[in-house]
Symmetry: C2
């Protein structure tokens, strides 16, 4: 059966110039997929006409007159822009016209709109954002990365379940290992919420590894790391900042004078191989988990390669029917409702 | 007036082999300082005899029969080791025999012992650990880094005051800027505790910058960054892990084959210059702030250079009478006690 992806073509720093070529590349690679290009028809039509015939048949335009700004407040995007490309994307997923949606737009607005349109799955109190990060040995899934700034132990347990099922869906891995981010490995470490979350995770049927520390993220100690959205967001952003500082610092040293520039010529292929190995673009595509429908978020600054990677992740989650699997697992976890009360 | 530093010579991964030469180097550079070398006399005496006469006159041994293990539980270190080098260090600071203390031992035990022996300053609910991190433009002070895993807004405000005074003392900087770590710059971002902390910090007489994000730590946006100890610890450890992954990844690429090894020969001086620029050893020496006395913590794996840097920080905090300054500022912040209740 064909998989249909609703693509917010207007979101992100670059808009259709990046998203439309990425969709074509995606369709070329995924022959079972169909794309709905959402955005201003007058902008998208000429771009679509550039596609070859076969691809053109698997892509169609759905006009949306508005665009949510990258810095637009969530409330304004929700209330005033009912015909934004982002909102229409969520509507198409909700209607079942699309099997999954993708946007590179404003994260806060995307989460709020997706949650409002799609609603959360039974048993899930709060949706979470799950990103993929490169590690020394492969990659790792971390959630939540900012949707929930105040988590209770039950939320962290739900994140563990959703993250585990996401890895199963995208990596075809049975029983992925789940770690709980803490300030030490011992059970006595951490605040009360984390300690109680560890108990819940240990009592669940997940492959729970136990507490992990900040260093374990990059070691790839587990397949999934679960944390509060405040902590996850700070870790993600501080890591981005540190990596940037290191790369810039290296660049500055290599361009300092004629001798270092000569050294740079020799070192360039090695540094390039290194950059390719940890190419963050390959990890683009964060899942908004816990909704009655599949929505993925691309980095706002994604290029066509990165955006295509995110499209592939969204398609794979749709093939694997991720929300149904999360709902089924939550039904098994949740206490059965009693009949007489 | 001479500054006397009590040095736990037995702590850390390397013990006296590192700490004693570091003390000599420190005394050579700081002619107004005296060191009390704490630890097993039979171990320290032969090492002290290697010092030249002038230095030998400014160093004396204080015997302590026990050592707190690097992984020893805090309760055991507190209860069973009243004559540990760490405990004796804190006792000497408490007695006023030393103006400041330094240990490279177990952080949890050092904080617990220091707090038990020295007590917290009036107006300070909880001591905090303040570390220095390199940034793109210099360095930055971050606190708390793990002493407090559940902070209230008032604690974050106290961290702001203590961090600001620490920077004034060590950097001789008037009104250092203070940022509050959050998941966005806007006031509406973050959880309730952080929002209320921002109000308290804004209402204080600190040079409060406002919210900062994870990336701002490495950009060096402010002089001080304040956060909950859980968040701070996770950020610190994940940053260590990421930096290690990047360095190891680069090393792997440069040692892959004969061509990359040749490139490494050319690139080595540049990479070395880069490493020196961000040499974490120069930033060694975290302050345990908020106590009635000065205690600094060295990284357990510190070498003699790093340990000497930490000694210099402790000495500078003593010269600047940091606890008195924190107490004076807290007295100005705290509501005056009413007489009749």
């Amino acid at each position: 059966m064909a998989i249909t992806i609703a693509v917010d073509c207007m979101g992100g720093d670059h808009g259709p110039a990046v998203t439309v070529p990425a969709v074509f590349d995606f369709l070329r690679r995924e022959s079972d997929c169909i794309a709905i290009l959402i955005g201003r028809e007058e902008v998208l039509r000429p771009l679509l006409q550039e596609a070859d015939n076969e691809l053109g048949q698997r892509a169609r335009i759905h006009h949306a007159s508005e665009v949510v700004g990258m810095d637009e407040p969530v409330a304004s995007a929700m209330r005033n822009k009912k015909d934004s490309s982002m909102r229409v994307m969520a509507d198409l997923v909700k209607a079942g016209t699309a099997d999954a949606g993708l946007s590179a737009g404003n994260t806060g607005a995307l989460m709020a709109i997706s949650r409002f349109v799609l609603k959360t799955l039974p048993g899930i109190d709060r949706p979470a954002i799950a990103s993929i990060l490169p590690t020394a040995t492969g990659h790792i899934y971390v959630l939540d990365l900012g949707a929930n700034v105040d988590c209770q132990p039950e939320h962290l347990q739900q994140f563990g379940i959703m993250g585990s099922l996401l890895v199963s869906a995208l990596e075809h891995k049975q029983r992925p290992s789940v770690g709980l981010l803490n300030i030490g490995e011992e059970d006595i470490k951490g605040n009360d919420i984390v300690k109680r979350a560890a108990e819940l995770l240990r009592a669940s049927d997940l492959n729970f590894y136990g507490n992990v520390e900040g260093t374990d993220i990059w070691k790839g100690t587990t397949d999934v790391v679960v944390c509060d959205g405040f902590v996850g967001n700070v870790v993600l952003k501080s890591s981005e900042g540190l990596a940037q500082m290191i790369y810039r610092g290296l660049k500055e040293e290599f361009t300092r004078n004629i001798f270092t520039k000569l050294a740079a010529v020799a070192a360039m292929p090695v540094i390039k191989a290194f950059k390719n190995r940890f190419d963050h673009r390959a990890y683009n595509g964060a899942g908004l988990l816990g909704l009655k429908g599949i929505v993925f978020k691309s980095h706002g600054s994604a290029d066509a390669f990165a955006f295509r990677c995110a499209l592939q992740r969204a398609a794979e989650a749709a093939r694997e029917r991720l929300p149904e699997k999360i709902a089924a697992r939550m039904a098994a976890v949740a206490p059965a409702p009693t009949i007489c009360d």
